[in-house]
């Protein structure tokens, strides 16, 4: 019994002293709003925060990949900083929830930033996301690059935006959507070799949604 008691005290001490890294940024509020909260709570209760984040990201892909009723044509192209798109209001809150679930995962943040800044032309929302993400992961090189890229894009300087974006693109873990964006921007700037390389990389990626777009891009660039 003495041994069991000693083991119990030692276990309690370890329980109290061992601290997994914080999953909430300092000062973050507890939020129960948003759809899927019950599902997410169920996943958390089974110790599956990462999986909950994965499923939330898949839902984001489905949400953003589904055309809205009043949409004319596609929304995944780059139309320039003057063509603001008001649709898909849930992109930012969804990305924020994914960040809350898995603060160590920057892929959804980059995806959201790419969508908000370069597709939907809402750079302020993109910068807000980047700010929150960097509060959790200060020093993340990809996110820092994107801050600069979005900032220059908001100011209308495409060349500088692309120059700041490329270091992030060339690091592993970049969403294909962002790579596709960068390829198109390089193409617009006349940087054909870079655009061609990026389009070829897109063809090798797992996200087949952008393969057709990459083939068309290769054709266009190869013609010139």
């Amino acid at each position: 019994m003495k041994a069991a008691l000693a083991a119990a005290l030692a276990a309690a001490a370890l329980n109290l002293s061992l601290c997994p890294p914080p999953l909430l940024a300092p000062g973050a509020a507890v939020s129960l709003a948003g759809d899927g909260v019950v599902t997410n709570a169920a996943f958390w209760s089974l110790g599956m925060r990462r999986l909950a984040a994965d499923l939330a990201f898949i839902r984001l892909l489905v949400y953003y990949g589904t055309h809205e009723d009043d949409e004319e044509g596609g929304h995944h192209g780059y139309d320039g900083p003057d063509r603001k798109h008001d649709g898909y209001p849930e992109v930012m809150p969804r990305v924020r929830r994914i960040m809350a679930m898995d603060p160590f995962w920057s892929h959804p943040v980059m995806y959201g930033v790419g969508a908000l800044a370069f597709n939907l032309e809402r750079p302020d929302e993109a910068l807000a996301l980047l700010e929150e993400a960097l509060a959790r992961r200060p020093g993340d090189a990809q996110l820092i690059s994107l801050v600069a890229a979005v900032g220059f894009h908001r100011g209308g300087d495409l060349a500088q935006a692309v120059d700041r974006m490329m270091p992030a693109i060339d690091l592993p873990g970049t969403p294909t959507m962002l790579r596709n964006m960068a390829a198109y921007m390089n193409e617009r700037l006349g940087r054909r070799e870079t655009a061609l390389r990026l389009y070829r990389e897109i063809l090798q990626s797992r996200d087949s949604n952008y393969h057709d777009s990459a083939r068309r891009g290769i054709q266009r660039v190869s013609v010139f």
Binding site: A3, L14, D54, H107, T176
Partner: protein, 254 residues
């Protein structure tokens, strides 16, 4: 120790020969394969989704298996009286309990390793196998299974049926993942009743300590995790459960 090892080996033999372990592995492999369908929807992060779904399935199957083995093993032996031929020999009751506990855990661990190997093969075929995160996740699963086996053994002895033992184990397992949240909420509310919740969190197994799967890509990766301390915690917690089980079992008559 010798008797405990003999009993553990016999329990392992029972669970493999009665096809329980092979069925768990087969079912788990099928579920992991179905997880590949989700991965197709995930595009760039297919490997991550496959890893997460796979390890989630492996953890659920392993912990369910160990809870079932620990709960049924003891209760069945008492009901079917196969216990008489063991306790009528110079086998101490603590040694008997440790043997059954280790046997249940080793059978479940065998299943976990087999399922992880199947997952590794699938990831390799996809070109996305990262041994480090996979092994770290598996380690966390095994530690959780170790703790669950201890809790299930104790709960089986104090409950009246396998169903109630497994239900209680399931509740403890779920609450064990909320220990951090319970403490956080208790601090935020600051009320007297909330403060009473804090000692409860000392009794519950703190599975968030062993949830390496959820922190695979934290700063520094797995190297920043207190792995040895986590293992020590799991061993101590299971030891406490077994100590309590032994105290109850000593007083039992057959």
């Amino acid at each position: 120790m010798r008797n405990a090892a003999l009993l553990a080996a016999n329990t392992w033999r029972e669970l493999t020969r009665t096809r329980f372990v092979p069925l768990i592995v087969l079912f788990g492999a099928v579920l992991i394969y179905l997880g590949m369908l989700l991965g197709v929807l995930a595009g760039d992060v297919e490997d991550r989704v496959l890893l997460d779904v796979g390890m989630a399935v492996i953890e659920l199957m392993t912990c369910s298996a160990v809870a079932y083995c620990a709960a049924t093993g003891l209760l069945q032996e008492m009901e079917q009286k196969t216990l008489y031929l063991i306790l009528s020999r110079p086998v101490g009751r603590p040694a008997y309990l440790v043997g059954r506990f280790l046997g249940a855990f080793s059978a479940a661990a065998t299943a976990a390793v087999a399922m992880t190997a199947a997952l590794a093969v699938m990831l390799l075929c996809k070109g996305g196998l990262e041994a480090g995160p996979l092994l770290l996740s598996l380690w966390g699963v095994l530690l959780k299974a170790f703790v669950t086996a201890g809790a299930a053994t104790f709960l089986a002895l104090i409950s009246t049926s396998v169903l109630s033992a497994m239900t209680m184990t399931g509740i403890v397992w779920v609450l064990g993942h909320f220990v951090g949240e319970i403490r956080f909420l208790a601090q935020r509310t600051g009320s007297a009743s909330a403060v009473l919740l804090v000692p409860v969190t000392w009794l519950l197994p703190n599975f968030s300590l062993l949830n390496y799967r959820d922190r695979l890509h934290a700063a520094g990766g797995g190297l920043s995790e207190p792995l040895l301390a986590g293992m020590l915690y799991a061993v101590l917690y299971a030891a406490v459960c077994m100590g309590l089980t032994s105290a109850v079992f000593r007083r039992k008559e057959f």
